[in-house]
């Protein structure tokens, strides 16, 4: 399913206020999953950039 970008403040707040109630343990698991997703994201980004932060280009 495609992600939705709400441009209305009311709609976004409605989404924020209507999150399911979860246990602290579930939140901890979620945070760990997000942390891992970010790690993968950074790894992929590092592969694509040189030390100085420029995108890697292949010459020739």
């Amino acid at each position: 399913m495609k992600a939705i970008v709400n441009l209305s403040r009311e709609e976004t707040l409605k989404a924020r206020f209507n999150q399911p109630r979860v246990s602290l343990e579930q939140l901890r698991v979620q945070m760990e999953e997000h942390r891992q997703a970010s790690e993968e994201f950074f790894k992929a980004a590092k592969k694509e950039t040189s030390k100085s932060g420029r995108e890697k280009v292949t010459v020739g």
Binding site: M1, K2, A3, I4, V5, N6, L7, R9, T12, L13, A15, R16, F17, N18, Q19, P20, R21, V22, Q26, L27, Q30, M31, E33, H34, R35, A37, S38, F41, F42, K43, A44, A45, K46, T49, G53, R54, E55
Partner: protein
Amino acid sequence: MLPGRVVFNKATYPGQYGFTVIAVNGQATLTYALPGEYLDRLLLANRVFDDDIQLVGVTHEAAGMVILTSQPTVVGDAATREEMMSYFTSRHFQLIPNFCAGYRGSLSFYRDLDQVAVFDAHPANFLCDQNRVILPIDAVIVEANDELTQLIEALV
């Protein structure tokens, strides 16, 4: 508290108030935020990301001041790079290419309409809830002063 509003409470480490980005020696630089800058950042997140962060209180511990806030809990998956790009372009931000403040590999964005810059954008800071609505939760957001604006505008 509003009906259905599930929040988590957050306390800063004593004497530490997260991060901000300022211009230092002609470079946009990630640095420790002052208490006022931290509160500005939270207010800006409310305004720009339609969040509802509220100040709960301020207390003193031996190591320094602690700021307590509450923020609606978001339950969902980490957003992908494409989803983050879609979020920002829909809100008239542009990517600051090849620039990251925070984790190497995180994304930075800028909106010239109101000189707002967002740094340290990565999946753990942008969640998609159960209805796939993208909800930012903890990016470094800054209203750039003239010096920082100049530096950022040279990059975009």
